[in-house]
C-alpha cells in the first residue's frame, strides 16, 4: 500500500501541526470557528436571532457567529451573489420555494449524516422533516411551521354588527357579509376586505379546495384558464359590491405587512401567513382575530397545508459545517434557543420543544399556536416542489389581477392571459 501526498496536503498538514503547537494542542480547530448566518425578516426577527446567537456563547464558547439580515426582496439577490462569489454564509435561511434550486445546483450541504448525532430532529414528524428534503436528501431543517391565515379587525366587524369570518364560512357568505360591512360605512374609504385576487397563496388555497393546484407534481401548471377566470370573476363581484377595496387601494399593497390594506386602515380583513400574525398585531391598534380561509362550499376541503415558514441550511463549501449544524440544532432542538426564537418564525416543528414552550407563550403566541393546532386535522399534503421559474408566477398574477381590477381586462380574458403567461414562464424555466 502506498500513500501519495500532494503538495497541498503536506502544506496544510504542516500548518495544522504548527497551529496545534501554537495553541498547545487540543481543540485548536474549534477555536477558529467563525460562522456567518444570513436571514431575511423584520427587526423583531433580528432582535430574537441576535439574542439566540448571544446565548449560544454559553453552549459553545469557542464558536463565534456573525449575523446579517435583509428584507425578503433584497435577501435573494444578496444570497445569490454571495454564493456565486464563493462567499456563501455558513448558515443560510432557506425558503421552500428556493431550496430545490439551491440544492440541485450544489450550493447546500446534505445533512443526512448528522441526523440523530448532532442534529436531533426525530420528533419533528416525518412531514416536517421531509419538507427539507430534495431528491431524497435532507438540505434544510424546518425553522417553524405555518399556514395561510385570515386576519380580521375584531372591533371593525363588531362595530358594524356583523359576524366576522370563521372556519367554515363559504366565499359566498364572506362576500355577502363583506358587502354588508362596507355598506355600513363606519368610516370613509373603509372596506370589509383586502383584494386577494393577486395574492398567490390565496389563489392556491382556492384551487386546492377544488382538488387543483398551482403546479402539478411533474412541474406543469395545475389549473385551467377557466379556473383563473372564475377566481378573478369572484373578486370582481366583491369589488363591485364593495366587499373588498377598489383596485387603486389594493395596488398600494406590496404584499407585505406594512402596506396591507388592513394595516393601512382601509380594510377590516387580510389574507396572510400565520407566523405574520405577530407582526400584523404589532402594527395594528385594534385586536386581530384569526380564521382559516373561506371555503368554496361547505363540503370542500380546507385547502390549507402546513408549510415550513422557513428552513435553515448549511452552505456546501462551509469550512465549519459541523459547528454550523450544531448551531442549527441549538435553534430548533435546544429549549434555550427555541424559547428565544419563540414562534416568530412559525410554530416549532418539534413536539417536545412545542410542549416545553407552551407555558411560556404570551396571548398572541398562543393564538397562533392554537390556530395551527386547530387546522392540522384538516390540512392536505405539502404541494409538490415548485418548478424552476415559478417565482415569477406571483408577479404575473399580481399584474393580471390589477388589469382585471382596473377594468382593463374581463375576468375571463384575465384567466386566459394568466395561464398563457404562466406557461411561457414555465417553458423558460
Amino acid at each position: 500500500m502506498s500513500i501519495t501526498l500532494s503538495r497541498r496536503s503536506v502544506l496544510s498538514g504542516g500548518a495544522a501541526a504548527l497551529s496545534l503547537a501554537a495553541f498547545g494542542g487540543g481543540p485548536a480547530w474549534a477555536q477558529s470557528a467563525r460562522l456567518r448566518f444570513l436571514w431575511w425578516g423584520s427587526q423583531e426577527r433580528a432582535d430574537r436571532t441576535f439574542k439566540a446567537i448571544e446565548a449560544y456563547k454559553g453552549v459553545a464558547s469557542d464558536v463565534s457567529i456573525t449575523g446579517e439580515f435583509a428584507g425578503w426582496s433584497d435577501y435573494w439577490p444578496r444570497l445569490a451573489t454571495q454564493v456565486a462569489g464563493r462567499n456563501a454564509p455558513d448558515l443560510i435561511q432557506m425558503d421552500y420555494r428556493y431550496i430545490f434550486e439551491y440544492a440541485r445546483r450544489g450550493a447546500l450541504k446534505p445533512l443526512d449524516d448528522y441526523l440523530d448525532k448532532s442534529l436531533n430532529i426525530a420528533d419533528f414528524g416525518q412531514m416536517n422533516i421531509d419538507s427539507g428534503r430534495v431528491d431524497g436528501k435532507l438540505y434544510g431543517v424546518n425553522l417553524g411551521v405555518n399556514s395561510s391565515i385570515v386576519l380580521y379587525d375584531e372591533a371593525a366587524w363588531e362595530k358594524a354588527g356583523i359576524e366576522p369570518p370563521k372556519p367554515g364560512t363559504t366565499w359566498e357568505e364572506f362576500a355577502e357579509k363583506g358587502a354588508a360591512l362596507s355598506a355600513k360605512k363606519t368610516k370613509p374609504g373603509f372596506y370589509a376586505s383586502a383584494d386577494a385576487s393577486g395574492v398567490e397563496p390565496a389563489l392556491e388555497n382556492w384551487l386546492r379546495q377544488q382538488g387543483k393546484a398551482l403546479f402539478t407534481a411533474d412541474g406543469a401548471l395545475g389549473f385551467e384558464p377557466a379556473d383563473a377566470g372564475k377566481w378573478f370573476a369572484m373578486w370582481a363581484e366583491m369589488r363591485k359590491s364593495g366587499a373588498c377595496v377598489p383596485a387603486d387601494v389594493q395596488a398600494l399593497d406590496q404584499l407585505n405587512i406594512e402596506t396591507n390594506p388592513l394595516t393601512t386602515g382601509k380594510a377590516a380583513t387580510a389574507f396572510a401567513h400565520s407566523n405574520q400574525y405577530i407582526g400584523y398585531q404589532k402594527l395594528n391598534k385594534s385586536r386581530l382575530g384569526v380564521s382559516s380561509y373561506p371555503k368554496v362550499s361547505a363540503e370542500s376541503p380546507s385547502g390549507h397545508y402546513l408549510k415550513p415558514s422557513m428552513l435553515i441550511s448549511v452552505a456546501n463549501g462551509s469550512a465549519h459545517a459541523d459547528a454550523a449544524v450544531a448551531f442549527a440544532n441549538f435553534l430548533v432542538a435546544n429549549p434555550t434557543g427555541v424559547e428565544i426564537l419563540g414562534v416568530e418564525r412559525g410554530v416549532p416543528a418539534s413536539e417536545s420543544m412545542r410542549n416545553g414552550l407552551a407555558p411560556k407563550l404570551n396571548d398572541l403566541d398562543s393564538v397562533m399556536v392554537k390556530y395551527i393546532a386547530d387546522i392540522t386535522p384538516g390540512v392536505g399534503a405539502l404541494p409538490p416542489p415548485p418548478p424552476p421559474g415559478a417565482g415569477e408566477l406571483a408577479f404575473a398574477l399580481k399584474r393580471v389581477a390589477e388589469e382585471v381590477g382596473f377594468g382593463r381586462a374581463t375576468p375571463e380574458a384575465g384567466g386566459e392571459k394568466l395561464v398563457r403567461e404562466a406557461q411561457t414562464i414555465l417553458k423558460r424555466g
Partner: protein, 317 residues
C-alpha cells in the same frame, strides 16, 4: 472630459537599436507618467472596461449566478426582439418618460433661470434653495415622500379637495396617472440644468438687448432672436445630458412601485425591468443583453443629437 495618456516616442534614438532595449527605455522614461495615471488606469480597466466586456460575454449566455454561464449565442437578443411583451412595455414607458420629462424639465429650468437672471436680491440663496431638489432627487427619501404626496389621502388630494372640491384618485397607484407623477418628480429636479442655463444667460452681452430695444424689438422678439439662439449650445448640452439621465432613471420608479413597475407595468422603466430580470429572476445573461440594447439606444440618441446640432446650435465663433 476624459484625458487620454500620451505616450512619447523618443525620436532621437537611432532606428537600428534593439527593440527590447528600446521598449524598456521607453517604459523607464514614461514610468512616472504611468504611475500618476495608475489610479485612473486601474479604475478604467478593472471597474469599467473589464466588467463591460464580461457583461458583453454574459449577454450571449444563460447565467443564473449559481451555475457556470451557458453559451446560447444570440438567443437572448432574438427573444428580446421577437418574443418579449415586457420589453415592449418597458420601452413604451421609458420613451414616454424621456419625451415628456426632458423638454418640460428644460423649459421649466430655463424659465426659472430667466427669472433669476433679472437680478433678484439674495439670488445666491434662492439659487441654492432651487438647486436643493436636484441634490436630493435621486434619493430614496424623496421617492418615499412623493409616494405620500400623491397617495389617495396625500397632500395633493387634500389641496384639490380644499381648493376645488375635487376628490382626486390615488395618483401613484392608478395605472393612468402613476407614470406622470414620476414625470412631475423629474421636472421638480430642475436645479442642475437651471444653474447651467443661468451661467449661459450671464454670457449674453447686455448691449445686444439694448440695441434690440432701440430698434423696437419687444420682449418676446428679444427672447427668440437673441436669448435662444445664443443659448443653443447650453440647451444642446442640457438636452443631451438630461436625455441620457432620463433613459437611465431607476430609483423613483423602484421606490414608488416598490420594485414591481406596477400597477400593470405602468412604471416599468427599462432599467427597472433590467433589474427585475437580473436580481428578481436571476437571468443575468438576459439582463446583460437588455443593458447592451439600452447602451445602443442611448448612443443612437446622442449621435442623432450631435448630428442635428449643426443645424440648430449656434456657436459664437
Amino acid at each position: 472630459m476624459t484625458v487620454h495618456p500620451t505616450v512619447w516616442v523618443d525620436e532621437a534614438r537611432p532606428a537600428a537599436a534593439p527593440r527590447r532595449g528600446a521598449l524598456r527605455r521607453m517604459l523607464a522614461r514614461n514610468a512616472p507618467g504611468y504611475l500618476f495615471l495608475a489610479p485612473w488606469l486601474i479604475g478604467f480597466f478593472g471597474l469599467t472596461l473589464g466588467p463591460a466586456l464580461v457583461s458583453l460575454y454574459l449577454s450571449f449566455t444563460n447565467y443564473d449566478l449559481l451555475r457556470a454561464p451557458d453559451w446560447v449565442g444570440a438567443a437572448n437578443y432574438v427573444r428580446i426582439a421577437t418574443d418579449d411583451p415586457k420589453f415592449a412595455a418597458a420601452m413604451r414607458v421609458t420613451f414616454i418618460y424621456v419625451v415628456l420629462s426632458v423638454p418640460l424639465k428644460l423649459v421649466f429650468a430655463l424659465a426659472v433661470a430667466m427669472a433669476f437672471n433679472r437680478g433678484i436680491r439674495g439670488l445666491t440663496v434662492y439659487r441654492a434653495i432651487f438647486y436643493l431638489p436636484s441634490l436630493l432627487g435621486g434619493s430614496v427619501a424623496i421617492a418615499v415622500l412623493w409616494r405620500q404626496l400623491f397617495a389617495s389621502d396625500g397632500l395633493v388630494n387634500m389641496l384639490l379637495w380644499k381648493a376645488f372640491g375635487i376628490e382626486g384618485p390615488s395618483w401613484v397607484s392608478n395605472p393612468d396617472y402613476s407614470l406622470y407623477t414620476l414625470v412631475v418628480l423629474s421636472i421638480w429636479q430642475f436645479g442642475s440644468p437651471m444653474i447651467i442655463f443661468l451661467a449661459g444667460l450671464r454670457q449674453i452681452p447686455t448691449d445686444m438687448y439694448e440695441a434690440a430695444e432701440i430698434d423696437g424689438a419687444g420682449k418676446a422678439r428679444q427672447f427668440f432672436k437673441i436669448t435662444l439662439p445664443l443659448l443653443t449650445p447650453v440647451v444642446f448640452f442640457n438636452a443631451v445630458i438630461q436625455t441620457i439621465e432620463a433613459f437611465k432613471a431607476f430609483t423613483p420608479a423602484f421606490i414608488i412601485s416598490e420594485g414591481t413597475g406596477g400597477p400593470i407595468n405602468s412604471t416599468l422603466f427599462y432599467t427597472l425591468y433590467l433589474y427585475q430580470e437580473a436580481f428578481g429572476f436571476f437571468r443575468m445573461g438576459y439582463a446583460a443583453a437588455l443593458a447592451w440594447i439600452l447602451l445602443v439606444i442611448i448612443a443612437l440618441f446622442t449621435a442623432f443629437s450631435f448630428l442635428s446640432a449643426r443645424y440648430w446650435v449656434h456657436y459664437d465663433d
